[in-house]
Structures are given as C-alpha cells and as structure tokens.
C-alpha cells in the first residue's frame, strides 16, 4: 500500500474524523425530525383534519413540497450528466455532490406524497390496482425509474473511490469491500466503468426530463383553471433545473466550509454554476411571463379569477415575493462578475430556493381556492402539523446528506486525479483538433479530427 497522497488525505480525513460540531448538527436535525414524527403520528391518529386543508383546497403544502423536492432532484443527475457529456472539465469536483442530492431528495419528495395520502396504509394499492390513465401512476412509474437510474449513476463513479476507502479506512473495511465489488483498477475494469458511466449519463437525461414533465402533468391533465396549460411540462423542468442548481451551490458552499475544501471548490466553480443559474433565471422568467400573458390575454373568466388572486388578490404578496426572489434580485447579482463571488452566488441561490418554493405553492393553491362554480371562496392556513412535517422533510434531507458525506468522499477522488493526470493533456489535444492544423498546406488531416477524442 502506497503512502496516501495529499488529495487522498484531504478528502478521506473528513470522513473518518468526527468533530463535536458534526454531532451538534446531527442532534439538531434529529430534534426537528422527532417533532415532525410526532406531528405525523398526530395526523395518522386524527386524520388529515389536523391540517389546514379543506374544501375546495384539497391539496396544500405537502404537494407543494413534493413538487419542490422533486425539482431539487434535478440538481444532480441532469447537471452532472450534461457536464460530463460536454466534457466540461470543471465538473470534476462537483458531480458527486450533485448526484447525491438527486438520489437523497427523491425519497423526501416521494415521502411528502405519503404524508398527503388520506390512507397511507393503502398506498400499495397503486401496485395492486394500477390505473395507467392516471397521471399519478405516470408519476409513480417515472420517479421509480429515475430513482433507480440516478442511484446507479451515483454508484458507478463511486466504485473506484470505494476501493480506495477499502484500502485506506480499516475501521469500515467490510462495508467498503462489499460495495467496491472487487475493483482493482485494471485497464479492463476502467474501460467498462467508463462505458457504463457514459451509457447512464445519456440515459439519465431523458428520464430526468420526463420526471418533472410528468409531475407537471398531474396538474395540466385536469381542466382546472391555470393548471390546464400546455407549457407546464417544460415550465416545470426549467424550474426544476433552476432550483436544482441553487440547491447545489448552497450544498457546495456548506461542504467547502465544513470540510475545508477551499482548494477543490474554487471560486471558478461557483462562478460557472452562477452563469448557469443566471441562464435558468432568464428561462424561468420567460416561461412565467409567457404563461401569465397568455392567461391574461385569453381573459377566460375562470382563469382570470385565479390570475387576479395571484396578481392583486390574497396571493399577491407571495406572487411578488416569488418574482423578486426568482428574477428581480438574483439576476443583477449573477449578471455582474463581482456578484458571482461565493457569498454572492449563495445569497442568490437561497433567494431562488425561496422563490421556487413559493412558485410551487402558487401553482397548487390559488387554482383550488377559486373553483369554477361560484362556491364561497376557500381559505387555506397551514397548521403546525403541516409546518412541522415540512421542517422535518428539510431536516431529513440534511440528515441524509450529512450521513452520505460521512460515508463517502463528497468529491470524486479518482475523477480529480484523472483530471490532473489525463485531463490536462487531453484537453490540450482536444483543443488542437478544434483549430486548423499547423504545417504545410494540403497535408493530410489526422483521423481524430473527425471525431475528437470522444470518450
């Protein structure tokens, strides 16, 4: 066994060393989760009457959370897969963090549906009596597929690091040995791993897009005012990627501080992600604008009722906060080079997350408050049960993430090493193929010219 390099010690030490701060964080999270568990028990015993839901507001913040968390899950897989396929070299230290968010947050999203069911004990009826005409069943199908694919996509690039941990961390050797699947790093193994990762990277993109499209279709397939919209699919996907990037930036900033990874997560990574976030902010604004302008111009009475309740009515404070948080404030921050510093991007990301949660809320609730027939308008005030369970959902996600970060390296060690050893010369070579070759006129072009170094 060779002496551990600086790279290895930088990334493995935080896994094996437990500071009091770590236990304090875990303790706080467990307290929040315990309160949420009590609230859930309360809801199980007394029914959904414990929530603020009523007729006609049959869906509230559980469904909002569901859409929000499934959106966050687009952080990982999609961003990491796209960057991998584009061979963006700066992706190397961030892919794993992103992929971990995806897998872990999916459980939280699906869990919120369970909280929302009147009869969670019968949840498995969706397998016993599936109605494939129901968009909810499309959801079940696509989220299960996505969970499987993104877990695989998280696991595959973990294998070489698991083998490394097996050799370096004696305390949990059995665990890593089990997961490393006998990886020794032979060229044959490396070849097949690369093939598998490339296949998964390609597969995971359409799956990710389907997932959030189908989530939007849960709403868009009904005839309810301001739900029945053809652009809901892409609108939700854009919002998902938008909030996903924001969540990733916050996770990076926290881990950078907690694990002292300043040398790995550099300002340039934040800067590049901030540019992506800026692009998504503009896309989000475009879709929102298109959606609301079409509604306004159509002037259909039932739709206008919902429309005005958001623009000037009881939901106006939420609506304009959303616009400020998703677009008005973050865009100037992200557009300026100075604003794309680490604190700048983190502030913008926090705002975006708040704004995107509100966006989901504004899609779910105002449409329900204003039903088509002129019933006495509904009201919706979430209760402490819903608040506690929502806080618990966030805490549960953070707990999962903390545990993940203590079991596995949050930055792919082998990918960084590969970047240092192979990435740099390869990028230079690749760059050369983009440009006209030096040399005598009419000389034969090398074969690599046509394909690049596609791997």
């Amino acid at each position: 066994m060779s002496q551990p390099s600086r790279l290895e010690s930088d990334l493995i030490t935080p896994i094996t060393r437990f500071s009091p701060g770590f236990f304090a964080v875990i303790g706080c999270l467990l307290v929040v989760i315990a309160v949420a568990a009590y609230a859930w028990l309360h809801q199980l015993v007394f029914g959904l009457g414990m929530t603020g839901l009523n007729r006609p507001v049959f869906w509230g913040i559980y469904i909002t959370n569901f859409v929000f968390f499934i959106g966050i899950s687009h952080a990982g897989t999609l961003i990491s897969a796209i960057l991998r396929l584009c061979r963006a070299e700066w992706r190397r230290p961030i892919t794993r963090m992103a992929e971990a968010i995806t897998v872990l947050v999916l459980f939280i999203g699906a869990g919120n549906i369970l909280m929302d069911l009147g009869r969670p004990d019968r949840a498995l009826n969706v397998l016993l009596h599936p109605n494939f005409r129901s968009p909810l069943l499309w959801d079940v199908t696509s989220i299960t597929t996505y969970l499987t694919a993104s877990t695989l996509y998280l696991y595959l690039p973990l294998i070489p690091d698991l083998a490394l941990l097996r050799d370096r961390v004696p305390k949990r050797r059995w665990f890593y040995r089990l997961l490393a699947l006998g990886w020794t790093g032979t060229p044959r193994q490396q070849h097949w791993l690369e093939v598998a990762i490339s296949i998964m990277a390609v597969l995971v993109i359409p799956i990710a897009i389907t997932v959030h499209t189908v989530v939007s279709w849960v709403f868009a397939m009904t005839v309810q005012p301001m739900w029945h919209s053809t652009i809901f699919g892409p609108y939700f996907v854009v919002g998902a990627i938008f909030s996903g990037i924001a969540a990733l930036i916050i996770a990076m900033a926290v881990i950078r501080k907690a694990y002292r990874l300043e040398a790995y997560l550099k300002p340039i990574h934040f800067n590049n992600l901030a540019v992506l976030l800026l692009v998504m902010a503009c896309c989000w604004f475009y879709f929102t604008f298109a959606e609301y302008l079409t509604t306004f111009y159509g002037n259909e009475p039932d739709e206008m009722q919902v429309f005005w309740s958001k623009i000037t009515g009881p939901y106006a404070p939420y609506f304009w906060t959303m616009v400020a948080c998703c677009f008005v404030v973050p865009v100037p921050i992200l557009a300026l080079r100075k604003g794309r510093s680490i604190p700048g991007t983190v502030i913008a990301s926090v705002l975006v997350l708040i704004g995107m949660w509100l966006e989901r809320f504004l899609i779910v609730v105002p449409s329900l408050i204003n039903p088509r027939l002129p019933y006495r308008g509904g009201i919706y005030h979430p209760t402490w049960v819903e608040g506690a369970i929502t806080a618990g959902a966030f805490a549960m996600f953070l707990l999962f993430y903390c545990i993940f970060a203590k079991l596995f390296p949050v930055i792919a060690i082998w990918e960084i090493r590969e970047g240092q050893e192979r990435g740099i010369p390869e990028t230079v070579e690749r760059l050369k193929t983009y440009l006209p070759t030096e040399g005598p006129a009419g000389a034969a072009q090398p074969a690599t010219e046509r394909w690049g170094v596609w791997r």
């Binding site: 007394f46 029914g47 959904l48 009457g49 929530t51 839901l53 009523n54 007729r55 006609p56 507001v57 049959f58 869906w59 549906i113 929302d116 069911l117 009147g118 009869r119 969670p120 019968r122 949840a123 009826n125 969706v126 016993l128 009596h129 599936p130 109605n131 005409r133 129901s134 968009p135 909810l136 069943l137 079940v140 849960v218 397939m221 009904t222 005839v223 309810q224 329900l368 039903p371 088509r372 027939l373 002129p374 019933y375 509904g378 009201i379």
Partner: protein, 221 residues
C-alpha cells in the same frame, strides 16, 4: 336527473334527505368554519346580473354523473370509475385518499373525510343500513342512491319483470316538495327525463367542458 329551477323553492329538503339517506355526518359550525362540510347534494346560491337588476338563483347540485368524467381518469387505483349502469361510482375500501379526483372535478362535487365521521348522541343509531359509513381518509360523493337501484333490481327480478320507470328514485327527488327533481332512465326514449331532452328551457352545467353531465337543468331565464 332533471332539476327544474323554475319549480325549485330552495327549501333544501333534498339536502336533508340526502344527509340521512346516505349516512353523511351532520354539519356543525366548526365544520362550516373549516370548510369541511360533506353535502352530496347542495344548494348553491348564484348571483346573476348587475345592480339594480340582480337576481339570485338557487342551484341544487348533486354529482353530475358525467358521461366523460374527468375524475375517473385520474384515479390511480380505480377507486372511482364509471360502472356499467353509467353512474360514477366510488370504492371506499380501495381509495388511498390522494384527492386527485376531487381536484379534477370541475363541479367540486366530491368530498373528503378529513376526520372520522361523527354523529351526535343517538343519531349514530339511526344509520341507513343499506349505505356503508365511510371511514376517515377516503373520498365520497353522490351515488344517485345506488343502493336503491340495487334494491329495485332485486325486487324486479323477484317479480320476474324488467325494471320500470319509477321503480327507483333517489332520496332527494322523493323529498322534494315542489317536485322540481325528476329522475329516470336516459336510455329509455319514453322516460320522463328523455322527454325533456328537447325542452327549450334545458341547459347543462359547464357544458363547454365536454364532460356530458347526466344532470339536466331547466330554467326560463
């Protein structure tokens, strides 16, 4: 079902009949405040026109039993479906309580049991034995008194004759003192409800949505 609004006095006898017939929990002020009243049959006041020519119309609304129901398509477990008799039915023991069908209904005619149903004092002993009491956490709605159809069918079979007009009427129609509600087989061209098919006073609720409701309204205005 045909509801003649020109005859309806808004007395709400249909609602009371429905509550007792179908074992719905009786609403109290708390349920009202929380917006959790279950009323399969409800009388909705609708304002029409602008001041000074304001008119209030009272609209009794049961489940519309759509020919193309938006609610049955979205149910993930077939707990709500259109049965062979053409009625939109509910299977309470299968419902997972996701409330998707409730949100998909453009008439807001479906109800959810937010808590376990309760009846004050001895009321609980007065349940209609033909209708199941729904547990907490499931969706329910007007069934057109489906249990009465089953009884009528059994009676007809016992007497060895086909089902006749008037063998089966829902509780709301039976209770209506103004006889504003009529009920019959839409597939039978000679039935009373089929006769109203060409009535110029006829209209459907939100016909433009294409749900093809089986409840027809009659009104002069």
């Amino acid at each position: 079902m045909v509801i003649d609004l020109d005859k309806c006095t808004g007395c709400q006898a249909c609602m009371v009949a429905c509550w007792t017939e179908n074992n719905q929990p009786l609403p109290d002020p708390t349920m009202h405040r929380e917006g959790r009243v279950i009323e399969w049959m409800k009388v909705l006041p609708v304002q029409e026109g602008e001041y000074p020519a304001v008119r209030q119309r009272l609209l009794p609304i049961p489940c519309q039993h759509c020919e193309d129901p938006p609610c049955t398509a979205v149910c993930p477990v077939f707990a709500t479906y259109k049965n062979p008799e053409g009625l939109v039915a509910q299977i309470y023991p299968r419902c997972i309580g996701c409330r998707y069908c409730v949100n998909a209904c453009p008439y807001t005619c479906k109800f959810f049991n937010w808590s376990a149903p309760q009846w004050p004092g001895q009321m609980a002993a007065m349940h209609n034995p033909d209708v199941s009491v729904r547990p907490r956490g499931v969706t329910e709605k007007c069934s057109f008194c489906h249990h009465r159809l089953q009884q009528a069918k059994e009676r007809a079979a016992r007497e060895g004759r086909p089902l006749r007009e008037g063998d089966y009427v829902p509780a709301c129609m039976q209770a209506c003192p103004a006889q504003a509600i009529r009920f019959g087989d839409l597939e039978d061209p000679k039935s009373a409800v089929s006769a109203e098919r060409h009535n110029p006073r006829r209209f459907l609720l939100q016909e433009e949505l294409g749900t093809k409701p089986k409840v027809t309204y009659l009104s002069e205005a």
